[in-house]
Amino acid sequence: MLRALLSDDLPQSRLLAAILLAIVLLLAAAPLLFGGAQAINTAAKICVFIVLVASYDLLLGYTGIVSFAHTMFYGIGGYGVGLALYGWGPTWSSAGLGLSLALLAGTALALLIGLLSLRVRAIFFAMITLAVASAFAILAAQFSEFTGGEDGRSFRVPEALRPGYSLGELPLIGPISGRTVAYYLVFVSATVLFLAALRIVNSPFGRVLQAIRENDFRAEALGYPTVTYRTVANCLAAAMAVLAGGLNALWLRYIGPDTTLSFAIMVDILLMVVIGGMGTMYGAVIGATLFVLAQNYLQKLMAAAAKATEALPLVASLLHPDRWLLWLGILFVLSVYFFPTGLVGKMRGARAAADRA
């Protein structure tokens, strides 16, 4: 049962399995365990980013192509749901229609970009996606009467997801609000999408992607049309990113360029994939969890450290809470050099070494 759910791709390390289990249990019980809004927001953000990072890993880790347009698809999903709820009223049907339109648009755009640039080289694709994504971000900010511009749009979600809504009361736990329902919607969707991604990479299709990553000439020589495979992988990853964006919009009840389209989020995704471990879906879980926690709590730690070192001018500004990206950037460079398979690879490697001994 568990094997089938995980598509026969087990964590392969006791430590990793224990950490994953802990993360999943904590996420599953988050609204019941932690009362505060910040804790639940963090948990929901982790769920959304797990999907987003897993879909990016499908591209970067499994197919070996670097895209800088992943936030664009994330944004398309967010804007699709958000603008539909804003324009057509807070009903489930408008959210569904918006998401379907976003899926259609996102996949079509991914197909177009793929056909245009995946024929040539990895580097070409990276540059073109960067250009297209930045143009998209600017367009989203420019057409402000439609998208809300830089300010974005706040909108109302379907009634069952609003904080004021009550599903009833449970013994021991208390009233179940719409926020809890919304959280579980995000959590369950994220779980399903993650398992689907795991299924994709462990299917024969996923094997071909890995073959292309390792050596595209050989894959081509074996008779696989590599361009088609790459393009399909690109579309799948884009569709998943659109869904993640839709979930995010439903949770935040707000959509704007800074939370979805900015290059900073693209950098975050890259960091999560690389630190968690490229080419291991579980890396997405570890990377996203670690990163979101760091983003929320490391900054506080750094603020304390900066205060403690106030007397030393340069050290204090290096430890300023806004500079947390500096340290993650250094961690990123080091992990690309020294552990290209990330934390998951490290944990699996420790087990492999123990087996050999």
Partner: protein, 354 residues
């Protein structure tokens, strides 16, 4: 201008004549892409006349495009050469742009007296000093970047993209640490402010300077590449790296040199751009790097001539559309790129081996 120019060699032994009419190794000037420049300008003129815009506006826009194109070319040329020579695409190029601009700004602060002086010579001297500091600083950082960041990942594209992006993040954050994140003023020297007015046409003085500097760099680069031993080696390296290595030249050293020069040019370009904008934020690199990528893709990765042409095309499109349809200005450059890639999937002047 053509990338397909081989070092001409006369065969010592009689050989069978080549199937094509062109003599072996002679440069074939590919004229079609060059026609795009006047074509675009005339199309823009036609649209503007049709909309009742005076011709003087068109001339101002065209000169602005020329200046912007030159600045982008200065930045992009180093990137495209580095790619051509060593197959390394530096996603961290934006960091050099920003660092150059910040160094120049810092140099100009103590020189404020010269900058404000009404004498053109003193102004230019201050600018030259600022540019010198910027280029030395970015060149040195380029050397460090090449040694520390790029050297261990030669030949691994995926890692190169990731590592140089990581380097960009770190460098950008360090700029924040050193100079702070707020917007900085970057005043133009007094003699370069304002515009020269010829008839109906107003041309900003700084744009003329930018055009002059860009032309000097372009011509200097052409001379260096086509008329010197060093240029011969660089061009040979672009064509076939292993062969140059086999002939006993240290391609690594050559590459480090080109990388340093490319970084220094990015510093120069960043300085010019900041002066053009008259303000400066740490995001200056990201703002430009997208245009720079579009330029080198359009021109053909590794081709200096293509890069020059691409920069001018992109600047033209950006300037004309920002006047005619300001909301879609950047998207129009993407459209230009798509159109050109449909026509020539490897860019306007594809480099032979790729």
């Amino acid at each position: 201008m053509t990338p397909a120019r081989h070092p001409t060699a006369t065969p010592a032994l009689p050989v069978a004549p080549a199937a094509s009419d062109a003599p072996i190794g002679a440069a074939r000037l590919d004229i079609l892409p060059l026609l795009l420049l006047p074509g675009l300008a005339i199309a823009a003129l036609a649209i503007m006349l049709w909309q009742g815009v005076p011709v003087s506006t068109w001339i101002t826009l065209t000169i602005a495009a020329l200046a912007m194109g030159m600045m982008i070319f200065v930045i992009a040329s180093g990137l495209t050469l580095v790619f051509g020579l060593m197959d390394v695409l530096n996603f961290g190029h934006g960091a050099f742009i920003a660092l150059g601009a910040y160094l120049a700004m810092t140099t100009l602060i103590p020189l404020a007296g010269w900058v404000e002086a009404p004498s053109l010579a003193l102004n230019l001297l201050a600018l030259a000093l600022a540019v010198l500091v910027a280029m030395l600083g970015t060149g040195a950082l380029g050397w460090l970047f090449e040694r520390v960041i790029i050297m261990p990942v030669y030949g691994q594209h995926l890692k190169q993209i990731l590592i140089t992006t990581g380097g960009l993040i770190v460098a950008e954050q360090l700029i924040h640490v050193i100079w702070g994140g707020d917007q900085k003023p970057m005043p133009l020297p007094s003699a370069l402010r304002g515009a020269v007015i010829v008839g109906d046409v107003a041309v900003e003085k700084f744009r003329l300077l930018a055009v002059a500097i860009g032309l000097v760099i372009f011509l200097g680069m052409l001379l260096l590449l086509n008329r010197s031993k060093l240029g011969l080696l660089i061009r040979a390296g672009v064509e076939n790296r292993e062969m140059v290595e086999a002939l006993g030249y240290r391609i690594r050293r050559l590459f480090a040199l080109v990388f340093v020069a490319g970084s220094a040019l990015a510093g120069l370009g960043g300085t010019l751009w900041a002066l053009y904008r008259e303000t400066l934020t740490a995001g200056i690199g990201n703002e430009l790097i997208v245009l720079v990528f579009i330029v080198i893709i359009i021109g053909g990765l590794g081709s200096v001539g293509g890069c020059f042409l691409g920069a001018l095309l992109v600047a033209q499109v950006a300037n004309y559309t920002s006047y005619l349809a300001p909301k879609v200005a950047l998207a129009s450059n993407i459209l230009l790129m798509v159109a050109i890639l449909m026509w020539r999937p490897q860019g306007l002047y594809p480099v032979a081996k790729r």
